[in-house]
Symmetry: C2
Subunit: 193 residues, 2 copies
DNA sequence: CGTTGTCTGTACCGATCAGTCAACACTCGA
DNA sequence: TCGAGTGTTGACTGATCGGTACAGACAACG
């Protein structure tokens, strides 16, 4: 058996993800990634199919590590209204805590790139659907438990909440400060009150 | 006096704006612009300072032609609640009518580029503030006239509405269809009801 | 008609891009 | 010990990037 790789693919994907996240797909060069990872050009092309392949894998990793696991965790919260509140709180917190103001890789991609590539478009679309489904589930659960009023229309409300999520993530990159973001999050909670 | 320009600067800016709008700043090359306008490279650099200068001018033109004039028009509507409704309706309509799904240049820029350049950052920030101010004004006017309830908290609500605007524009690029966008717009109106 | 000053068109610049390739390093089974 | 097979490396490719230089086209003056 031959020589083994000197790096973990998932580590490289993680670091590549950070670069794509910060700079965007178009503005990220392979050299940026080799600089960030320390992996040489040839090794990178030996392990991956190229820039696009790396980006897709980064998106998948982002989805699994950051989004899906977070939503699964929140689904274990007893009070669904509290779960949604926690969701928005963590969103605002993540936005405020990031000194680079990178926003959310999913939405950054939705704007920069989704109109150009079908693979990526689908990943973005699925990621957003996942959030909508989570919110719909929580709203329905809340209505069953009686701490979200029946007057709340589940599907339109879930979609509006996602739109607010997008707004928070985009405006959090610079246009809105702490107070404004918290106000928006509060308005989101008001939508299910 | 010497030879005059064979093109209108504002025409070139308009066409360059379309290219930037569709492809994003980083992904747009000078060749893309010369192709789209028919202007040769040298003439373009003779008339403008370069790619960045062209982009800033395109952003300014977008702001003036599309945003500011629209908001001024809506401010002449008697019923401020109706003005906000029309604002969201036209937003959804513009999003649905665009076959290229370009979204909004302002928000596209907010995500792709605002973290890299201070001039552009300010333009984006000011553009968003303009919309917030418009919405605050209409909400206050509606409260005075009595067709928006006093229980609506002007500033947080205006900010949430802008967040929904962003959401509609971003999600309208692919993730959300006609029904979903209209539902989100309706939820926006519900926020001031 | 010639001078003057601006605009046009294109060749060209160095830098950088994504991606390739062949020489070399290394491990392991035979 | 050596060949097979994989990983690493850095030089290299052709294309394209943003931007420049300059020769020629043109119009308004004298």
């Amino acid at each position: 058996m031959p020589w083994e790789k000197s790096f973990e693919e998932s580590d490289v994907i993680e670091q590549a993800m950070e670069v794509f996240w910060e700079k965007g797909y178009a503005a990220t060069s392979i050299s940026d990634i080799t600089d960030a990872t320390g992996i040489k050009r040839g090794s990178l092309y030996n392990a991956f199919d190229g820039k696009h392949d790396l980006f897709v894998r980064a998106l998948l990793k982002y989805g699994g590590d950051r989004r899906t696991s977070k939503l699964r965790m929140l689904e274990t919260v007893d009070d669904p209204r509290e779960a949604i509140t926690m969701f928005f709180d963590s969103l605002v917190k993540a936005t405020l805590d990031d000194p680079d103001k990178k926003g959310c890789l999913l939405f950054n991609t939705a704007l920069e790139y989704s109109s150009h590539d079908d693979d990526v478009k689908k990943l973005v679309s699925d990621g957003i659907k996942e959030v909508v489904t989570f919110l719909e589930g929580q709203i329905n659960r809340g209505k069953e438990l009686g701490n979200i009023p029946d007057s709340v229309d589940t599907r339109p409300t879930a979609k509006a909440l996602v739109a607010l999520v997008v707004g928070i993530r985009v405006l959090g990159r610079g246009a809105f400060g702490k107070t404004a973001l918290r106000q928006v999050a509060q308005q989101a909670i008001d939508l299910i009150s």
